[in-house]
Symmetry: C3
């Protein structure tokens, strides 16, 4: 046992430490917003903004039924085929049009819930999206879902930090997040 | 290269190691019980109790439709406004009243499932909750959901380890858990 | 401060490093496939195969309504009791028979979605399962769900890497995965 030997061991330890540090999870929440139900999308934004308020980073991946929630009700896109037009017409156009997964009752339950939220000073979905933007919650819109449903980029809301991506891009982010949720 | 230098490097390594250890995830499962469907709540409890049986810690956060599942059918609360009364009346009062998300068929499917579970010695939801309490599964009830639905603390079941909290409290727990699930 | 002392400290550091390395999460995605809805099962497979394509490992646990999705439409099993026969008849028999959670509209919406996916060259659920097998995505079928629904092993698809297990087996895998999702 001599000093050279000690030095060698120490360097090995330092190298292993670097590997561990690189693999360590980032203080980040990664949410797959699959559902297009008002209550679930709202829950996603409550978690994402709550995470940022706690000093975490937050990133959301809107896919399948979550995708149309981010459409802008005042925007539209031309050049769609029949299927694209059908999906466009049948799915909710933006956060103001989504329905609750429970107690919707032909829209009455959703309206009731919105009224209660307003009275109780709970932020609406539109307000939550604005808050998320302000707090720097990053959003990806799933390109495969857009392709399937015939949505075009110009139909989506203006949101600083919104990008279009595939599942691989999201997984690369989620992989190193401390928290991942499929909503 | 001398001994003082080696000592300094070693101290640096020790300090980095401490940081890594502090950031390392705890052997814990954190479940967001958003759904109020019998099958999903049951799955949450199967996972939570299974985790404890494996030596992990388990904590659940009941929010939105999961909230009324923990009401005690023999308790009630006064002083509710109209909306609170409506939510109270429309949502299931406790674990015995929840319905399956599939094959409910006006309650027949839920009854059938309960009968099968009994016959196969699969624990009912009420039994799972008792088991979870015994095993030390901790439960948070979401304060925002209570506020929205007009639920009061005195309506909830007696459960050692049940507390009322906001999303931040839960996120602080989930952040360092090895497993997080949104059910 | 002497060399023996340095050596002792270094050994302590090495030991702590080993502990940290053992506890470090594996580059793995663990998915609980609870839902039997076409869209959600498809999303699970997109994530699982996408993860493998990125060099991650992927393991899925099919439970509750996810269980019948893996039945082989050309296989059947005898010796079932009445309840088992009922579940067998009422639940979809394999990936070709599952329905979308939204816009199913008596099957029309599901058919429409399948047509769009075909046209857009998005893999069908059956193709995704074949791809997952090829990529080495491992699958567990939940034994408690099989017991409850009366399913037998011989009813399931041929899939290299499919096994039957309880929740504990899956949790032991999920515990050390970087990503866990409840779908």
């Amino acid at each position: 046992m001599d000093m050279q030997n000690l030095q060698n061991q120490l360097e090995e330890v330092q190298s292993q430490l670097e590997t561990l540090k690189k693999g360590a999870a980032e203080n980040k929440v990664a949410i797959i917003a699959f559902s297009g139900d008002m209550d679930k999308v709202l829950a996603s934004f409550v978690i994402a903004t709550g995470a940022v308020a706690m000093g975490m980073e937050a990133v959301m991946f809107f896919t399948f039924w979550g995708t149309p929630v981010l459409r802008d009700k005042n925007k539209s896109a031309g050049g769609k085929d029949l299927m694209g037009k059908l999906f466009g017409a049948m799915l909710p156009k933006g956060a103001g049009a989504v329905k609750s997964s429970k107690m919707n009752m032909g829209g009455m339950g959703t309206a009731m819930m919105k009224a209660v939220m307003k009275k109780k000073n709970i932020a609406s979905l539109e307000e939550m999206i604005a808050l998320a933007e302000e707090l720097g919650v990053r959003i990806y819109v799933c390109e495969m879902s857009m392709d399937m449903m015939g949505f075009k980029r110009e139909e989506f809301i203006d949101y600083k930090g919104l990008d279009f991506a595939g599942v691989a891009t999201f997984l690369a982010e989620a992989q190193n997040a401390k928290v991942q949720l499929f909503v």
